[in-house]
Symmetry: C2
Subunit: 242 residues, 2 copies
């Protein structure tokens, strides 16, 4: 039924969709990198630029949605191709959220940067780098059609959680020791939480990519660390002992 | 081309998809209601049950994904029907997240419930009720194919944000006044944030439904309040004056 020409242009359309996802992913990765660099170097101007660059990602998400709809309507893909197209739609949603969280990190930094109190230290940049590596890896898994690499990212989610827990406890200790740091620490808490969520979304992307490529779902429960925010802390009333 | 029989069963499939979304939405709404009731009545057992009921939502999301894929593959819907199917997929994703946030609220409550310090007061239940109403309204808009009702929900997002800001400031004040409340207040902060995010997702659903029904996108910038977490507070070092 389909001529050689049609087949080729269909594959071209799938590739264009993949390229749009990669571009969108690269943008989100860059946005997180900028946010983290702004934090590490205390660069308010860079943070400001990061906040503004979020609109581009939203635009590509729009483009992906349109490409997907057109592909589904005109090409009616089946089986693996259909998984690929629906997967792209899911990936675009995840990436859009990652960009959103990166923007939030920059926003919180801009507020905290104007305050006295503890600075971000090295943990937030370290968490950020880890999340950034996950995004890079998951995009590599996608572009190289490699489910094993997706699986490897999926297994790493616990690492970011662990750093988040350390950060959470450290911030509580600061607040308990010196109440003047409370407002600033609250922002740092949200920044850490935003990075932890980025890790979650990278893990969701890994799940989606694994399913796109293999048709098999990873088990529901991923191997993640406990959320420190959900664990009783031993010494909430004698903070200096923590 | 399509026989009467095929047409009817196609419509039946669309209706079954819509029914699955409604069921999933009702479950998430119920989960939020349980979480909020647990908080308001300090009912740990109810909170525990809420945490566990999250799995059902994930199962229906799976069902929606399968129905959608089958519909796309076998029926190849066009135009408005295609928007409806892709929209259902998006709605399922949003509802899944709402269930997730409701579960988190219950989890944070279980921790905070074992602690000394300020209780949740009435603001968190009020925020929760507001978010719950938004979910109810948005599901009504969906089931009655009414874009105006979706638009009305979309416009209400600022209300939850406003309550969240009040809550944020109140919690900072507690922490500043009495450092023994810091850990508990941190959990309340996350609970409030989770409800605020539920409001965001209800708003996303409203956008999706509006687009499904009209083919037109609401403007990008929704009319929302400022995030208090991102505003400098006037009196961070003399808290009793706040």
């Amino acid at each position: 039924m389909a001529s050689q020409h049609t087949v080729r242009s269909y594959e071209e359309e799938l590739r264009a969709l993949e390229a749009a996802i990669m571009r969108m992913g690269g943008m989100a990765e860059g946005q997180l990198a900028s946010a983290i660099e702004a934090v590490a170097k205390r660069d308010a101007e860079l943070a400001q630029r990061t906040v503004q660059s979020d609109k581009q990602i939203d635009q590509i998400e729009q483009e992906v949605a349109e490409r997907t709809t057109r592909l589904l309507a005109l090409r009616q893909p089946m089986a693996a191709d259909l998984r690929q197209v629906i997967g792209a739609l899911k990936l675009a949603g995840e990436i859009e959220r990652i960009g959103d969280y990166a923007k939030n990190i920059a926003k919180h930094f801009l507020v905290v940067n104007r305050m006295p109190g503890p600075q971000t230290g090295t943990l937030i940049p370290r968490m950020g780098q880890m999340a950034q590596e996950m995004i890079k890896e998951v995009l590599d898994a996608y572009s190289s059609n490699n489910p094993d690499r997706a699986l490897a990212v999926w297994k790493r989610d616990g690492d970011v959680d662990e750093l988040y827990n350390t950060q959470f406890r450290a911030l509580l200790t600061y607040m308990l020791e010196d109440s003047r740091t409370i407002t600033a620490c609250t922002h740092l808490l949200f920044m850490a939480k935003n990075i932890e969520r980025i890790g979650d979304h990278a893990t969701n992307m890994a799940e989606t990519i694994h399913f796109m490529l293999t048709g098999k779902r990873l088990q529901e429960e991923r191997p993640r660390g406990e959320d420190a925010a959900l664990i009783d802390l031993p010494n909430t009333s004698s903070p200096s002992g923590v």
